[in-house]
């Protein structure tokens, strides 16, 4: 059993396990699954006197979004250091450079801005929204892929 856990998991374990997070969160807390809302929460926590309407909300009542993100960090640590034979790298070596930092910075800006503008990411739209059969989330997911394809096929060949 332990030996099996230590290996990379196949898609038919990984996918259903990710999908199960939705009913787990709904049934234990009534909250809808989502991750990128934590960005907004952290922004609001760091700017308590902001005049920006988007950040003027009671972040304490949705602090669970940040707690969820903290859990993901802890889970990432447990999985890679305790449940893997040796830690696995997840970014290519070429990213450990000035160029790599610039690419990650640009990408991160797009992720932060884009997920807030679209009101969700692969968690809130692709997992939660599609599971709830929402047209908005289907369109959002298609747009995520259009953006990913443009970056992969048209822009990255020029950059990486």
């Amino acid at each position: 059993m332990l030996e099996w856990i230590m290996q990379p998991w196949p898609w038919y374990v990984t996918g259903p396990a990710l999908g199960l997070m939705i009913p787990l969160l709904l049934l234990s807390t009534g909250k809808s699954w989502g991750i990128s809302g934590s960005f907004r929460n952290i922004n609001a926590m760091c700017a308590p006197r902001t005049k920006l309407p988007y950040l003027q909300f009671d972040w304490r009542s949705s602090a669970w979004k940040v707690i969820l993100a903290v859990g993901v960090v802890i889970g990432g640590f447990i999985a890679n250091y305790l449940l893997s034979p040796e830690p696995v790298p997840f970014l290519p070596d070429i990213y450990f450079s000035v160029k790599g930092v610039l690419l990650l910075s640009a990408g991160g800006l797009l992720i932060g801005f884009g997920t807030r503008y679209a009101d969700g990411c692969t968690s809130g739209h692709t997992l939660m929204g599609l599971s709830n059969l929402q047209m908005t989330s289907l369109i959002a997911t298609i747009c995520f892929f259009i953006g990913g394809l443009i970056m992969t096929w048209l822009i990255m060949p020029l950059l990486v």
Binding site: S36, V72, V73, L91, L110, G114, N132, I139, I146
Partner: protein
């Protein structure tokens, strides 16, 4: 008729945060063990070189959709007997423009928001750059939001 057993009970902050923390931890473990946080897997997905990520996302949505269907069909309540309400999100220009922006960032960083956090936990320290930039990006959205087409 409401019996005592049907009366919703308030979820304390501590209980809420503990439950969420445990679920987040499980999610992080699955993301890493399934290598969903790997830049290489995301690139193979967008290059159509591997079916792996499509099978992961597809089976996740199938399990999620069946779960949501059953929760609605049975009018299931939370473990504190509160009613479960799933809000729908509005379709607007941001869904498309923001969605494409996010997709651009997803492909180049190899991480969507969940995996950014899981990468950090996994010791991929460069992911702090991605997270920091994402927080700046989110703040820039807050600045621009009053003037953006919605």
């Amino acid at each position: 008729m409401d019996t005592v057993q049907d009366t919703p009970r308030e979820t304390s902050q501590v209980a809420l945060n503990l439950r969420v923390l445990v679920i987040g931890t499980m999610f992080g473990i699955v993301l890493v063990k399934g290598q969903v946080i790997s830049w290489f897997n995301i690139q193979e997905m967008f290059r159509f070189q591997s079916a792996y990520m499509y099978l992961v996302i597809g089976s996740a949505v199938v399990v999620g959709a069946i779960s949501v269907f059953l929760i609605k069909r049975t009018h299931a309540r939370t473990i504190d007997r509160q009613e479960i309400e799933i809000k729908s999100k509005k379709l607007n220009k941001g869904t498309v423009i923001g969605g494409i922006m996010f997709g651009l960032g997803w492909a180049v960083t190899g991480a969507c928001p969940g995996p950014i956090y899981a990468q950090i936990g996994s010791g991929t320290w460069l992911a702090f750059v991605t997270l920091g930039a994402a927080l700046v990006g989110s703040y820039l959205y807050a600045l621009a939001q009053p003037r953006l087409p919605s």
